[in-house]
Amino acid sequence: MRRFLPRPTLAAAATFSVGIALIPLAYLGVRVGEAGWARITDELITARTGALVVRSVALAAVVTAACTVLGVVLAFLVTRTDVPARRLFGVLAALPLAVPSYVAAFVWVSTVDGFEGFWAAALVLTLVSYPYVYLPVTAALTGVDPAQEEVSRSLGRGPWRTAGGVTLRQVRPAVAAGALLVALYVLSDFGAVSIVRVDVLTRAVFTSINLGFDRTGALVLATVLVALTAVVLLAEQLTRRRGARYARVGGGAPRPPTRLRLGALRWPAALAFTGVIATALGVPAASLLRRSLEGVSRPGSIAELATAARNSLGVALLGTALTVLLALPVGLLTTRVPGRLAVALDRLTYLSHALPGLVIGLSLVFFGINVAYPLYQSVWLLALAYAALFLPLAVAAVGSAVAQAPPGLEEVARSLGRRRSYVLRTVTVPLAAPGIGAGAALVFLTCMKELPATLLLRPTRLDTLATELWTQTSVAAYAAAAPYAALLVLIAALPTWWLSARTGVPTRGGG
């Protein structure tokens, strides 16, 4: 096996990272263990829990399927076709991720009469989470070696068959990773499902706490989410193909791939693209604007807005840095030292990913109080919570990025006598940079809009855009809330723009 760090170091670092992601599970274990068997079976073996599981799984399946189609099609249009205004579309298509699901759902409910139930939730969740697929697939499509496509074309396959048979197969890891994240995100979401009133597991977890102040009952129900996650992970594992080669041959100087001419489809494609962006971004934007104009409540001052924005940026950046740093060893291990340990560690990072933010928040309260008391209610513990919440986002990105960096180049560097850490820094990471950047952007956006864990763990008196948004909407001061929401999306737009530039969407090729 190829080794680029001494294996024990890498394995230890990866194990440490995974340990962080497992804090919530340890907490669940402790608290559910206290509950006793009678209580657990009472709570779990009911017709209601059964119905909740079925509905949660159905919602996750529908949204995942929709996001996969939408994300792959949009990414393909942006990177591989001559659709008009590619640069603009490329950036806009990623932005809906910056819209918190609770904001999106609220906007739809207050705009459309009778907007509620399963399909309403499916629509809102699809619109806010398809970028989980779109972003990594865009990065992967940019990184794919065009040589394989050229071979396919030269052997007589048409452009569309090549796209389906070669290109999409090459980005399969990115698609699968994105779809997995969507499925787990849908299982963990509370904001949208509570507003459009779909009774799923997360809602039942919150109801237990809100209605009965019943922490134990809530945590017992949360273990079902972990079990479902395990099933989803297993399913994803089964779809993996062995022996596929994803790296380009000469990673150092990427060439732009040939673009498909859409011909008569060019403008219809642009129209469809515009439609998606209008529903995902335009509807919230218009509604926020209307709210600001209609209401009379106002945010305290520009200074308060600025402070909240600075705090949001600060905690999100810190959370992102920590998350990506923790993700690196796991991503490297899974791609460069594959084996049982790597697979196990990689899967374990996902295991707590379907838990709602409130449960993760409580688990870090538990951790902070009992293990890391000096860090309690400091930004460090909050950053750690973000890492526990979002590690899989970064691990997936690092994994698929490193998979596309040809190991041959690292071997050459090693054979020339470079040390492993030097090769990692100067060869592997630069080659994988666009993908890692995509992961970092994902984590950053998600940190910015995270609410329940932030409320529990933020340092006292630290207000972020998300917490201010919550403060204002909880007293129905929607006009005062609107600027915070707008700023949240705007700030999230910056890394997205940067990201699109880095992955080459807006800068290269005709458009």
Binding site: V109, F213, G295, V296
Partner: protein, 349 residues
């Protein structure tokens, strides 16, 4: 406002890891207050910043005591406090409803309040064991759209809402704490059977479920639903947001007459954590909440009922004494559990 953040700004992500490894950066010494006055208290507030902040500012100014306050959702905060246990940095918990305070008292986290504090508030609005005390009263009402419900059709009792003429017209928020307190009181006062029938009646009558009180009032005001069961002050919040007066809104409050359970009085309240049992700063804070200045603020600005004698409620509200004061413990958790089960069994939540 940005102070807690600034002290971390220069650090890099790498040192974050180091700090984690060492678990001993020791930068957080806030919130340690002994029995002597250190002119500093930490408040966990389950009530919204926009409602509570002016009172805290007044207190800070009058007493010179620094108030560190965390805002959060009442139920989530109760869970957090229970997780923190006796290492909690909190001195005081300000909560939206009696149930959350009761769950704290049951876990034995609150100190008993002195009689001098308890006696300021009528017996119905405080804990029987003296571990928390009510600060403000809120009344359950029926909000209705004046265009859709003529005055003559207004129900005399909340039980009428299960009748056919209200089919599909009544909004409720069954996962909300105040709805649950209302149902608990109904069980105690009217009996289990009648309450069960009422909930099943609401379900069969196609009650419109909402996530909270504010969306119900908004939907009643814009005519999407004709009526809803909420707390009385939400119409005032809506009027404030729309820049108008309550009289100009389509949504009106209807108080059920003759002590009907539909107009139950509920409370927001405060409890003191054990660690702050004899902290004079904390005592000063609780006294301030029950003092004339703060009570007047709540009456005039948040339109809640002051619970301390000598302070008048906002004009236009019926007298507190004419409404249904609960003759039960609103914080009795065993009762709450049965209520939750009943609400779930009815299919409403």
């Amino acid at each position: 406002m940005g102070t807690p953040w600034t002290r971390f700004v220069p650090a890099s992500a790498l040192s974050a890891l180091l700090a984690l490894g060492a678990t001993a950066c020791g930068s957080d010494e806030s919130g340690q207050s002994g029995p002597e006055s250190d002119k500093k208290i930490t408040v966990y507030s389950g009530r919204s910043e926009s409602l509570v902040k002016p009172v805290l500012d007044e207190f800070r100014e009058a007493s010179g005591i620094t108030v560190d306050v965390r805002y959060g959702d009442t139920a989530a905060m109760a869970a957090q406090l229970q997780e923190e246990g006796d290492r909690s940095p909190a001195d005081v918990f300000l909560a939206q409803d009696a149930g959350a305070l009761g769950s704290m008292a049951k876990k034995d986290l609150f100190a008993k309040l002195p009689d001098a504090v308890l006696d300021k508030v009528p017996g119905a609005y405080r804990d029987d064991d003296g571990e928390w005390v009510g600060v403000t009263g809120r009344v359950r009402t029926m909000v209705y759209n004046a265009d859709q419900v003529p005055g003559a059709d207004l129900p005399k009792s909340v039980f009428e809402l299960t009748e056919p003429q209200w089919k599909g017209k009544v909004g409720i928020a069954p996962t909300n704490g105040s709805f649950q307190a209302f149902i608990t009181a109904m069980r105690v006062q009217e009996g289990e059977e009648k309450t069960k029938k009422f909930l099943e009646g609401l379900k069969a009558n196609d009650a419109q479920i909402r996530e909270g009180n504010a969306p119900i009032v908004a939907d009643v005001n814009n005519g999407r639903i004709a009526a809803g069961l909420v707390n009385h002050y939400y119409v005032y919040e809506l009027a404030k947001e729309e820049g108008t007066t309550v009289d100009a809104l389509k949504a009106k409050n209807h108080f059920f007459p003759d002590g009907d359970i539909g107009s139950l009085v509920n409370v927001s309240g405060v409890g003191v954590l054990k660690r702050a049992d004899d902290d004079p700063d904390v005592r000063a804070f609780v006294d301030h909440l029950l003092g004339k200045q703060a009570q007047t603020y709540f009456a005039d600005e948040t339109y809640e009922y002051p619970l301390v004698a000598g302070v008048a409620s906002a004009p236009g509200l019926p007298k507190l004494s004419s409404l249904n004061a609960p003759d039960i413990d609103l914080d009795d958790l065993d009762d709450l559990e049965a209520t939750v089960k009943m609400i779930k069994d009815s299919g409403l939540a």
